[in-house]
């Protein structure tokens, strides 16, 4: 403590500069954590978070006894795994292709176009989904009708939404992720490429034995970051693509959409607090564990 006071005296100005951010983070990130106790309480607005009665693990019992807890956990994990694999794989293929392209203008324009979806809000992506998949006026049904086939009511077939969500997730993020991989590839020492071509490596061999091994650290970091978020669904994406179509909930409900609905639409604070608590705590345990394991295997790959 004495050392801290001494440091404050020495670097008074630096502490003054740091203070706003520290206060901000305490108010907007650390203090809200205390609200996690709501998971064990029967919340009443008039009594507030701390005045409400405790009810033990009742909220959790309700959440899991109804089967909802398991369903939303399973959905969240399955969606995140699928999205991780597809968007990273696509990003790597895009990055390798773009870096191999020699025509500068083509390279620049195509890179700009695949990055564009990142800039669009999910509300607008939601409009796209509507314009493409709706029953009466959707682009796909329009094409089906033109080909003399019967239109499909996509909103009545929960099974296809897994793929629609996966496709739009890849659509939105592949360009963004590919930039990370392009940076990794362009960071590779040019001498290695020269050596490979002197040794007579074909383009495929060069990619297989030089480019791909060089982006492995980046890929591992991306996987780690995503594993740490495996229980967090991208609320904005699910909410905008699926919306309030109750028929699709079993197939598309993730923890975040469930928490949101229970909180704001059915006002079931206890259950949503239980789900949110379970998500926050488990996420934290997963990321710390995975990072610890990675640290043991190879220190360089650890996140923190």
């Amino acid at each position: 403590m004495g050392a801290f006071v001494k440091e404050v005296k020495k670097n008074k100005a630096l502490f003054v500069m740091l203070a706003p951010a520290v206060i901000f983070v305490i108010i907007f990130a650390y203090l809200p954590m205390s609200g996690l106790v709501l998971a064990f309480k029967n919340y009443r607005y008039d009594r507030g978070v701390f005045g409400s009665d405790w009810n033990g693990v009742e909220n959790f019992r309700f959440l899991f006894a109804s089967g909802t807890g398991w369903l939303i956990t399973k959905n969240t994990i399955v969606y995140n795994m699928m999205n991780l694999i597809t968007s990273q794989a696509l990003a790597i293929i895009i990055a390798v292709s773009i870096t191999e392209i020699k025509k500068k203008l083509f390279k620049k324009i195509s890179q700009s176009i695949v990055f564009l979806p990142y800039f669009i809000s999910w509300v607008i992506v939601g409009t796209f989904v509507f314009a493409i998949f709706n029953y009466e006026t959707g682009l796909i049904n329009n094409l089906l009708k033109a080909a003399g086939r019967d239109p499909i009511n996509f909103y009545g077939v929960p099974g296809v939404w897994k793929y629609i969500i996966m496709i739009f997730n890849a659509w939105k993020w592949s360009g963004y992720n590919s930039i990370i991989y392009i940076a990794a590839i362009t960071g590779v020492d040019a001498e290695i490429y020269d050596a490979a071509s002197i040794d007579g490596a074909t383009i495929f061999q060069r990619i297989r034995y030089v480019t791909l091994p060089c982006i492995r650290p980046t890929l591992i970091t991306m996987i780690l970051l995503n594993v740490g978020r495996i229980l967090r669904g991208d609320f904005e994406m699910f909410y905008q693509i699926v919306g309030n179509n109750g028929q699709l909930y079993n197939a598309t409900d993730v923890i975040d959409t469930y928490v949101f609905r229970s909180l704001l639409q059915s006002s079931n604070i206890g259950m949503s607090a239980a789900a949110a608590f379970y998500q926050s705590v488990l996420c934290f345990i997963i990321i710390v564990t995975v990072n610890g394991i990675v640290k043991k295997i190879d220190c360089d790959y650890a996140l923190f």
Partner: protein, 304 residues
């Protein structure tokens, strides 16, 4: 003699395999670019197609039966759109400005090598990305303890300070030669003079990058408005758009179920036109600001 033959043979083989590779490469990237563009094209075409055509033939890639009726309707009564634009511009400007100052100053302090507790404070900030209170705690805390329900600040605070941007900014500061600070100190400059007169002018590109990330986040935000804003006068653009889409979808659903013909509302083309109006600014500035985002993503991907 033999050696030359082998040499030329490998050369022909190599050029064939690379030609094949380039054909695949260019085709793939062109295809990806098209997939990224098609939704935008459907959107724009839909906004310029007459309501009658959409009702019978659906949305399509090309413009059929050109009409500007949907835009006419928006601009005939522009109050709602202008208000929402005003709110979005306002929160984007204020949020970006405050967030940028907070991020830059904090990043500067955390990169000062003579600041003994920089790692402690870095972890203090980083921890909030590993563990947080979740949606329920945050929501109740904002409403009951910070009294932010229906306040415009509820749209500004949540995005103001992002630890990921802090880390990117810190990388930008660390790229500056540290001797700058030391020599200024020897010359007797105070801490604030060093920061504002010496460091900030050199951080223009870093500040442009983070400022644009912040601005994009504010411009595309609808989620916080959905949680906290009740008065439609305070709706930002994206949330107003979302509401409009929901309402007209709801109207269309009711109409189709009860057999009412909604002849007079060009709801299908109106949806697309509104989306174009909301996306327009981003598409217009995109070519000019893209490079900063590429830079930010690249810097952010280098682990620091």
């Amino acid at each position: 003699m033999k050696m030359i033959t082998t040499g030329s043979e490998t050369k022909i083989k190599l050029s064939f395999s690379s030609r094949l590779f380039y054909v695949i490469c260019y085709t793939f990237i062109t295809l990806m670019a098209l997939i990224c563009l098609i939704p935008f094209i459907v959107l724009i075409s839909g906004s310029f197609t007459s309501e009658n055509y959409i009702r019978f033939h659906g949305y399509s890639v090309l413009i059929h039966d050109f009409s500007t009726k949907a835009y006419g309707l928006i601009f005939k009564n522009p109050v709602m759109v202008l208000k929402a634009y005003g709110v979005s511009v306002g929160i984007t400007l204020v949020g970006t400005f405050l967030g940028l100052i907070l991020t830059t100053v904090t990043a500067y302090v955390l990169s000062r090598k003579d600041f003994k507790y920089r790692n402690v404070f870095s972890f203090f900030f980083y921890f909030t990305t590993l563990f947080n209170g979740g949606m329920v705690s945050t929501y109740i805390y904002y409403i009951q303890y910070l009294h932010l329900k229906d306040s415009i600040w509820a749209l500004i605070f949540p995005g103001l300070f992002n630890v990921f941007y802090l880390l990117i900014m810190r990388s930008f500061v660390q790229a500056l030669p540290y001797a700058l600070v030391e020599s200024a100190k020897i010359d007797g400059a105070g801490e604030f003079v060093i920061l504002f007169r010496i460091i900030l002018p050199l951080l223009k590109s870093g500040m442009a990058t983070i400022g644009l990330f912040l601005a994009l986040g504010y411009w595309n935000d609808w989620y916080n408005a959905m949680l906290y804003i009740n008065t439609s006068d305070k709706y930002p653009l994206q949330y107003m758009l979302y509401n409009l889409l929901q309402q007209s979808q709801a109207i269309a659903r009711i109409a189709s179920q009860s057999g009412i013909v909604m002849a007079d509302i060009p709801s299908n083309s109106l949806k697309m036109a509104m989306t174009v109006v909301a996306t327009g600014p981003i598409i217009l500035v995109y070519p000019f600001v893209q490079k900063y985002f590429v830079k930010g993503v690249t810097v952010g991907s280098v682990k620091g």
